[in-house]
Symmetry: C2
Subunit: 261 residues, 2 copies
């Protein structure tokens, strides 16, 4: 990558992390929609989706299971922060091994913890998957115990937002509550899918402010992302959640859906 | 730059923009101190300062006037956001032409405006010059009129923080007030120097919360950075400031100091 790329200097770009199963990038249209929204928000020209798909297909051919990372930067140039008037975006597609999460995580649940690193509040950057990720990097550096699968992050006002690489759902009284992403956080592809599947199962899903107290008072917690599908939480710090309470049918449908192209 | 560099993927790095005059990087020790603080905050190993200086000197040799950019990323590797346990930082030194600001700006003052893009609040990232700069990129994209030299940014709570590439000082009643950078913003090298010079001139400088009303009620505004030194503000939007009110001696000392190695 040329040294003048603005992705390198300012994190001036967007990315998608896409599950690859049986040679196909999964949930492609959803990933591309979020990428397009990010391009609009940052005023980066949208790459032709058909071209991206051809490149992705070529890279994924013959891959039984893997991860496709699609990185799109604003490209080179501009004087300082000021973006060039006619940017020529750079796209970088790379293939990575499937993460070695235990395959039983979605049935047995995972152990998670709280992170101290806060998420800054900025509605202009909320929801999209841009490359300014120092907050997640710092939060993920807070623990090294491989038995801890994820850490929950709060915003600068102390409201609970998401995991470092997943979205959070609270399960209580037969309903789901997930933090609003209007002021910070990433609108995960897994999150959108889980909300849809819940709707199809007549499980009500609300978005709103979520406090730490609400998290601790939930019947259970779920984490979603496009690679893991959904994980129930067995323990948050010292607090255990009873796996018996989880909506098993919904979880099974999510796992089935996420592993099919 | 290798495609796996974390600077490219997450903005996982730091930078310094250093004035070069007569073959010498100016205010080197101050830039290196801030870089070291950034390294400590992000847990990036500190590069040997003597080695950096040798490389900088080699690059700057024979340069009458220019800009040295020092970019330090965490280097490659790590699974997702999680930083590698023993990162090997990558340093990139590059030389750029001196910006073509009118040389009379510091005497006649500049026209500036307000930006709409807010600065997110995050004490962990405040003060240091890290590479997560999408907020500044978006703010700088708000105007293209070359007659506007800078834009002022507020934080998510509406407090005034800084310019897109400079720090702000309010001049009122013979004293200076500059926004606190405890929750967001960059602690500029020019800012630190101007505060020192003000102290030597027995001009009181306070740091604190600054509202838009306070900005509009100031006798005058000053902008500082390591390349421009200090600019008085002639107009903020439709509001004019009277150049007669500025502390001329302080400005002259700052310009003298900033242009000497």
């Amino acid at each position: 990558v040329p040294v003048a790329d603005r992705g390198l200097h300012y994190g001036d770009g967007l990315f998608e992390t896409i599950a690859v199963v049986a040679g196909q990038p999964c949930l492609w249209d959803r990933h591309l929609s979020r990428l397009r929204l990010g391009c609009e928000r940052l005023a980066i020209p949208v790459t032709d989706p058909a071209q991206l798909r051809r490149e992705a297909d070529t890279l994924c051919r013959g891959v039984e299971r893997g991860v496709l990372k699609l990185l799109l930067t604003r490209g080179e140039g501009g004087r300082g922060y000021r973006p060039p008037l006619e940017p020529v975006p750079r796209r970088i597609l790379s293939l990575h091994p499937w993460p070695d999460h235990p395959s039983t995580s979605w049935q047995q649940g995972v152990r998670i913890r709280w992170c101290d690193t806060p998420l800054g509040l900025n509605p202009r950057l909320a929801g999209i998957k841009h490359c300014n990720r120092l907050e997640q990097v710092m939060a993920r550096a807070e623990w090294s115990d491989p038995g801890i699968a994820e850490g929950l992050m709060c915003d600068a006002d102390g409201q609970v937002v998401e995991g470092t690489q997943s979205n959070l759902f609270l399960w209580r009284g037969g309903e789901l509550l997930t933090p609003s992403l209007a002021r910070c956080g990433v609108a995960g592809i897994g999150r959108g899918l889980l909300m849809e599947l819940a709707g199809e199962s007549a499980i009500r899903v609300r978005e709103g402010a979520v406090s730490r107290d609400q998290v601790m008072a939930a019947d259970g917690l779920l984490l979603s992302n496009a690679l893991i599908g959904v994980w129930p939480v067995a323990a948050l710090g010292e607090h255990n959640f009873d796996p018996a309470h989880y909506p098993r049918d919904l979880l099974a449908r999510m796992m089935e859906r996420i592993h099919l192209p």
